[in-house]
Assembly symmetry: C2
Homo-oligomer: 340 residues x 2
């Protein structure tokens, strides 16, 4: 199952509103074939794996309950039954109302031994974006932020290039490849005039700009490529790469984005991050901490105005990674992956 | 040499103004004996090791140049020559003006092969407190602080118990055993009324209180045991455990402490830490970071009012350790261990 989860991750940033799924086929304790859902509309993981072997009497490991409905592809359950798979291990039930236990049931009815809940927590963590989509009906949000040891994102005079090391920044840039879109506010977009590109599949990369006061210029570098969403001031109406969204608030913006097939959004620091955390819309946070002191007058990473220690927000499922002399601390702020 | 450095650490918190020294004796690539300087006035590491064997033709590894002067004990150099040691590997020269290359010279003159600078950086780091004493004529200062991911040491209402996990706090408490004394301001001493004890050798533990406005009560729990130094308001003048210091400023206080045999001082957070960092008197900093967000109104860990990013203070020789879900980031702020 760990291997299924590992290969499922290859689909990150490509499956849109679909989940990340990996599948491993085993016979006599040996891996016979593996498959994963590579991108939206493509073969499901189970079919990808089953297509690679003609063996019989297989045990199948998959991190998500196989589907039983006709979506972009035929139901996986039918193929699993047809191929006479003996045992199926499932990471978690699929809360999608078109599946939601029906896949499991059909497999059992066909006489297949089914074990549900194998590495369930890890399976749920893997698909926290998908779960956010199903349960909250909005795109999931990950905050990325570079901070000093004393919790500052910029010095007193606004200088912030660079707080963290080259190695950390490069690690941070690679994150973009694992998301559907990047979300920035007008401050970030105008101040540094960043391109906001990513290295893999730049053509399918989406950039979302919140520019309620129409401050960002049409000549901004971020408009040069990718698909653009703007909430706020109209730019060049003739530019077909730009799509305008009329949102009521941040939550509604994330709902509209999901409707348009944007499931996972990365927000790289700035005031917007604080707003998202305050509004309970930040699902995951990734911090790069540099071992330096910026001082009391620096700009704090200040998510909200909680009053007492018990109000503080603890990250769950924390990961800690050394990156040279910096340290990356990441974890989850919402708990959509925790309850059923 | 790594082993010599490792065992030298056993003397932490006991050698006062003496350095930490470990010694390993090797013959035919095998360790024959080991020794270390266990506490002030006791045998030096070289003698401790040589006393444990009668073997001839030894190679000796020691992290600090052997002494050649009569102090509390006779010169180690004489014993090394007498025992006909063949080769001596030295981590670093001893900058103490009574040694400072003379030990090296005497060994060479006696026909012993001497290699200086083996794991020199590690040897210098080990003795950063001793080096601070020799070069700056003051006690060295280590700051310990527990902070949230957003750089806060307390919530808006002052609550701070506890920011970090039990595991981190226990790790932090053990630090006291490796220092000569603890340094606190009147705020810390009166607010939480802490005992400020340590688990090992509590009888030789020293507590230094800065109480310039005579705010701390005589009934405070910190006065109950250990030896007390006070800079500021007089308490019970009859209490012989209390010693009063008349310092001109923080730097002078640290000078007076060293004169009294206090070489390494631990300061546990609070305003005093900020002051020490600002005044360039903090040599090392140890932070325990908890993966939680306390919010913008929390009390920041705000060492000084630097203006721009290039003014920020970078820690050197950074160590990163996971402690459960917390992370310990430690490093050096002054660079006494870097230059000769």
């Amino acid at each position: 199952m760990l291997e299924a989860i590992r290969i499922a991750k290859k689909g990150k940033g490509r499956t849109k509103t679909n989940p990340l799924v990996g599948c491993v086929l085993v016979k006599n304790n040996e891996i016979i074939a593996k498959g994963y859902h590579s991108s939206y509309g493509k073969k499901h993981a189970e079919i990808d794996a089953l297509n690679k072997t003609k063996e019989q009497g297989l045990t199948l490991y998959v991190n998500l309950e196989p589907c039983c409905h006709h979506g972009k592809t035929p139901p996986c359950v039918d193929e699993i039954i047809k191929r006479k798979v003996k045992t199926v291990f499932i990471g978690m039930k699929d809360p999608n109302k078109e599946v939601n236990g029906q896949g499991l049931k059909k497999l059992k009815q066909a006489g297949i031994k089914v074990h549900q809940g194998c590495l369930e927590h890890e399976s749920r963590l893997l698909n926290y974006s998908y779960l956010t989509g199903i349960k909250k009906n909005r795109a999931s949000v990950t905050i990325k932020v570079a901070i000093s040891l004393d919790g500052k994102v910029a010095a007193c005079d606004g200088t912030s290039q660079w707080i963290t090391s080259k190695k950390s920044r490069s690690d941070g840039k690679k994150m973009r490849n694992r998301y559907d879109a990047i979300l920035v506010g007008s401050g970030t977009a105008s101040k540094d005039n960043p391109v906001l590109n990513r290295s893999l599949r730049p053509e399918s990369w989406k950039k979302i700009l919140i520019d309620r006061k129409n401050k960002v210029k049409e000549s901004s570098r971020m408009f040069k490529n990718g698909k653009i969403y703007i909430w706020g001031g109209a730019k060049n109406k003739l530019n077909k790469k730009i799509k305008y969204l009329e949102a009521k608030n941040l939550k509604n913006l994330l709902e509209l984005l999901r409707k348009d097939g944007v499931q996972s959004v990365l927000c790289e620091g700035g005031k917007l991050s604080s707003e998202l955390i305050k509004d309970n819309l930040a699902d995951k946070i990734v911090t790069y901490i540099s071992p330096k002191l910026i001082g009391s007058k620096g700009l704090g990473f200040s998510p909200a105005e909680w009053k007492t220690l018990s109000d503080s927000r603890k990250l769950s499922d924390v990961g800690i990674t050394k990156i040279g002399e910096d340290v990356k601390v990441e974890g989850y702020l919402t708990n959509v992956h925790r309850n059923n």
